[in-house]
């Protein structure tokens, strides 16, 4: 068995046992709890993304995992062992820092080789690994440069290569691609995923780019004010957010406040002021009050011109609301419309531009009918 195969084997063998257990961890800075009784399990080989607004504690959490902050409470277990007392240089964890932290006095090559030399790899092995890493981040030919002679994006790639080079059990990435252009970012994303699968590494990545998180991660954790609001697969997170806050934070959404009127046979009727009665599917988890909101993703709202006959194929109970186009934004692959409903609500609808000619487009001030299925609606506590 080669080294890599063995690693793969071990990865599968341990797949269901969590590699990392974060147990009610707290970190306070004065009055603020940057991380507040946060618990999280990460499986071996998992690609986990952390999302959350600026200042919600993502970096602080990562720094505790790396050993740079000491938790004020709770435990962090790696392979079932409490690593709270283990200094950073003894942890099988590597971190890519948010501001890169490249050594200014060392060349790109020496920056990447730094961790490998500390690990006592033979010289030839180091050379090979550095070359491999340089190719991975498309920096071949730049190995002799100093960090100050690189662009922001190039620095970021050196930082990435340096953190990856040691092939740690757990790699922490703090906004690793924030400074890359779209093309390079997509390439790096794909490379990261490939590498992660191939080496059976476990990644925790912090990002502000939701699409990036969705594309790469097996699971996403959304943080707010030091707490994890929801941990779920990308699809669950998007289609079944567990709170109004998550629904609003992840992707675009229309939210209409209302009150539950009646329910039965898998359907629920919600009376709303700004959109009239809305029929929705009964949610799986029980609501705590009847003061609710209806949430619907823009791409699930279909538009048809006012005069056109209602779509014959629609199942019974489809919500139909009349209104006027109030705004149009053309975005290439899709067009976003703002529809002012006659009842008052402003509904966002995004329509995929599936054909080239413009015949299907709507114009501002045009009367339209907005339709959406009850199953596409979510009902959440207000």
């Amino acid at each position: 068995m080669t080294d890599e195969e063995r690693r793969d084997f071990e990865a599968t063998a341990q797949a269901d046992k969590p590699l990392l257990q974060v147990d009610a961890v707290v970190r306070r800075f004065g009055e603020v709890s940057a991380v507040d009784h946060l618990s999280l399990d990460i499986r071996t080989g998992e690609f986990f993304a952390l999302l959350g607004p600026s200042g919600c504690g993502k970096t602080t959490l990562l720094r505790m995992l790396g050993g740079f902050e000491t938790p004020d409470g709770g435990r962090i277990l790696l392979d079932g062992q409490d690593i709270s007392g283990v200094p950073p240089h003894r942890r099988p964890v590597n971190m890519m820092f948010q501001n890169y932290a490249l050594f200014p006095h060392l060349s790109v090559r020496d920056n990447i080789a730094f961790g490998l030399r500390r690990a006592g790899l033979p010289r030839a092995g180091i050379e090979a690994r550095v070359t491999e890493m340089l190719a991975l981040v498309s920096l071949d030919g730049m190995e002799k440069r100093k960090p100050e002679q690189l662009s922001g994006g190039q620095r970021q790639r050196v930082a990435l290569a340096r953190a990856l080079a040691r092939r740690p059990r757990l790699l922490l990435l703090d906004e690793p691609m924030a400074a890359l252009d779209k093309k390079l970012r997509e390439n790096t994303q794909a490379e990261l995923m490939r590498l992660q699968r191939r080496l059976g590494m476990t990644f925790i990545i912090v990002t502000h780019d939701q699409e990036e998180a969705m594309m790469m991660a097996d699971r996403i954790g959304v943080m707010n004010a030091g707490r994890l609001q929801q941990v779920a697969t990308p699809r669950q997170l998007y289609e079944a957010p567990n709170s109004r806050w998550i629904a609003e934070f992840v992707g675009g959404i229309n939210i209409i406040d209302g009150a539950v009127e009646s329910s039965g046979r898998g359907r629920m009727s919600v009376a709303t002021q700004s959109a009239g009665p809305v029929t929705v599917a009964t949610p799986l988890q029980a609501l705590t009050t009847d003061q609710v909101c209806v949430a619907i993703r823009p791409e699930k709202v279909r538009l048809s011109s006012g005069e056109a006959a209602p779509d014959a194929g629609d199942a019974a109970g489809t919500n139909r609301m009349e209104g006027v186009i109030a705004g149009v934004s053309y975005l290439g692959g899709q067009t976003r419309y703002q529809v002012r409903l006659d009842r008052g609500a402003l509904l966002h609808a995004s329509v995929a531009n599936t054909v080239r000619r413009e015949a299907e487009a709507f114009e501002t001030a045009q009367r339209v009918v907005a339709c959406f299925a009850p199953d596409d609606c979510m009902v959440l506590d207000r």
């Binding site: 740079f68 240089h89 964890v93 971190m95 200014p104 500390r118 440069r145 100050e148 953190a163």
Partner: protein, 304 residues
């Protein structure tokens, strides 16, 4: 470039200021010293010949120039007394600078690690001795080091020695005085570079498996090299020419070059030899400065 363009903007005009300063307070006086070093001593006022006097006309000026000679420099090179004096100065400066670095680095490092609000206080503590006259502080050391001074009293009280140690007029006393006096000049530039090091770099080193010691040698020390260079120069150069401390604290057996210069100037009234000593000293001290400048430039240019 025409003069008009050189002085075109206020910024350009300001950039000329240091050169003007150099010209007025360094090059001009140095010109005088250089001229005197090429003259020979006489019992007169001024105590050297030839003297340039524009009033006596071109012919006299030509004769005066012809009378200049390198004799004083030949004397410096041939007389062991002067050569040894230069050598001792350089050795004393090297030894003191090494001790200063060994003591100053840990202090500066410690200062840079203090909580942010304590750092200005530590800085003030380093600078505070400057509030007392330098001479007074050296005299205070005489007091401390003398036969029945504080140092001997403490050593005797602790029973570390049975009889008072002779400190004064020894090299030990001189090194104590030098290190004490120049320590702030070593600490401040070191502290300035150490405090500037991004703590994230130390974390990155730890993250990549560097122990504290490895991190210190591979990250902290290389990044503080400019401070080490600046501190070493700031101490080495004045110590080579130091006069007061060796004169008051060291023995008289082998004088440093500053003392020799003083001797020539005030005791022997030999202004030309004294000037020649000063000129050679200046040339000697240019060497480390040029090396430093060269290294700095290479650092800035990197490996472009």
């Amino acid at each position: 470039m025409s003069g008009r363009r050189l002085f075109a903007t206020p910024a350009r005009r300001a950039a000329v200021a240091p050169f003007l300063w150099m010209l007025l307070f360094f090059l001009l006086p140095f010109g005088f010293v250089l001229k005197i070093s090429l003259s020979h001593a006489v019992m007169a006022q001024p105590p050297y010949l030839p003297v340039f006097d524009p009033a006596e006309g071109i012919a006299a000026l030509k004769a005066a120039i012809a009378a200049l000679s390198l004799d004083n420099f030949r004397l410096l090179a041939s007389d062991h007394f002067y050569v040894l004096s230069y050598l001792r100065s350089v050795v004393v400066a090297l030894v003191s600078t090494s001790i200063l670095l060994a003591i100053g680095y840990p202090i500066a490092y410690g200062m840079s690690r203090l909580p942010a609000r304590w750092q200005p206080i530590a800085m003030i503590l380093v600078i505070v001795p400057f509030w007392t006259s330098f001479l007074v502080r050296v005299y205070a050391w005489i007091n401390i080091l003398q036969h029945d001074g504080i140092l001997n009293n403490v050593l005797m009280a602790l029973r570390l020695v049975s009889a008072p140690v002779v400190w004064l007029s020894t090299d030990a006393a001189m090194y104590i005085g030098l290190v004490y006096s120049y320590l702030p000049f070593m600490i401040l530039p070191l502290y300035a570079t150490l405090a500037k090091i991004d703590p994230a770099l130390l974390e990155a080193s730890a993250d990549l498996g560097g122990s504290r010691l490895t991190t210190f040698w591979l990250v902290t020390v290389p990044l503080s090299l400019p401070g080490i260079g600046a501190g070493a120069l700031l101490c080495f150069i004045p110590i080579v020419g130091e006069f007061v401390i060796p004169d008051l604290l060291a023995g008289s057996a082998s004088p440093m070059i500053g003392q020799t210069l003083w001797l020539e100037f005030f005791n022997n009234h030999d202004w030309p030899v004294a000037s020649a000593i000063a000129v050679v000293l200046l040339v000697l001290l240019l060497a480390p400065l040029l090396v430093y400048e060269r290294v700095q430039r290479r650092r800035l240019e990197g490996t472009r």
